[in-house]
């Protein structure tokens, strides 16, 4: 009984993440790659993402403080960040990355700074939500996590 309730909670939480635009179908593609040989694949990839993205964001933060501004470097960092957001289906973060790059193209420093604050906010919110999601998933156990299923 409790097990089914947990599964329902997981499904509901995941649906919420999609409905609110935090995640897109790429996240489903990652879950499809999970199997008995790699039952924690998605969580491992997401962990990699947050490790790498935190490093990139620290680089961007430092780069934004430089004078004169190197917009090519900023764009390069954000290109990398956007790439990995796309790979895990982090839609909202990806969209903010896109806006940041548009400001880079215009060499609009204020725009970049404001946009970067949004990137950081979306990144932090997503991290919190995915941590809760995986915490709940862990309660279900590896066998069910490895099941290929839709949302």
């Amino acid at each position: 009984m409790e097990y089914s309730s947990l599964q329902r909670q997981v499904a509901y939480m995941k649906k919420g993440l999609f409905d609110q635009g935090y995640l897109d179908e790429q996240f489903d593609e990652l879950e499809e790659l999970q199997d008995e040989a790699s039952p924690n694949f998605v969580e491992e990839v997401v962990t990699l993402f947050f490790r790498d993205s935190s490093r990139l964001m620290a680089n961007i933060e430092q780069a934004l403080e430089r004078c004169p501004q190197d917009f090519r470097r900023l764009d390069s960092y954000m290109h990398q960040l956007k790439g990995s957001t796309s790979s895990i289906g982090a839609l909202r973060v990806k969209n903010e990355c896109t806006k940041f790059r548009e400001y880079c193209d215009q060499e609009h420093l204020d725009g970049c700074q404001r946009s970067f604050q949004k990137v950081k906010r979306e990144h932090a919110v997503l991290k919190q939500k995915l941590e809760s999601y995986f915490q709940l998933l862990r309660q279900i156990g590896p066998t069910e996590r490895a099941t290929r299923s839709g949302s």
Binding site: Q26, E29, L30, E32, L33, D35, S38, F41, E44, V45, L48, F49, R51, D52, H79, Q80, K82, G83, S84, S86, S87, I88, G89
Partner: protein, 133 residues
């Protein structure tokens, strides 16, 4: 037993070399390839890819990101195609940007195909079936 370049690995499955500076993308592409029963070696740079290609003779396909620091996927492709020992290995380029000039330049240089990121497992399966059979 010495193996000819491009021959199958000891286990019989094709060996794919994946090259990407992003650890996230390396993990994803490696998982996609392994789920299709390919043996995968994943490295984080063109330089490491060339080092490995110099040591291993059983790489059947290279799949590389386009935009990497120090050596781009295009530059790696050129080096592979300029090498008498490596030029027969099919090279596939991946990129998150749909830039027609970039795509045509890679194909003209001898790339087997050009995939847009995020990589879809179905695209990789179709590609590998075509290239590795």
């Amino acid at each position: 037993m010495a193996m000819e370049r491009g021959g199958k690995s000891a286990g019989g499955e094709p060996h794919v070399l994946a090259v990407d500076d992003s650890s996230v993308d390396r993990a994803v592409i490696a998982s996609v390839l392994r789920s299709s029963k390919y043996r995968v070696t994943a490295v984080d740079s063109g330089k490491r890819a060339l080092e490995l290609l110099g040591l291993e003779t059983d790489v059947n396909m290279i799949i590389t990101d386009y935009w990497m620091p120090e050596m781009t996927g295009y530059e790696l492709l050129k080096k592979v195609k300029e090498s008498s020992e490596l030029k027969q290995i099919p090279v596939v380029i991946m990129s998150s940007e749909n830039v027609p000039n970039r795509i045509s330049r890679c194909l003209e240089e001898g790339a087997e195909d050009f995939l847009l990121k995020p990589i879809q497992p179905s695209d990789v399966s179709r590609l590998c079936s075509r290239v590795l059979r």
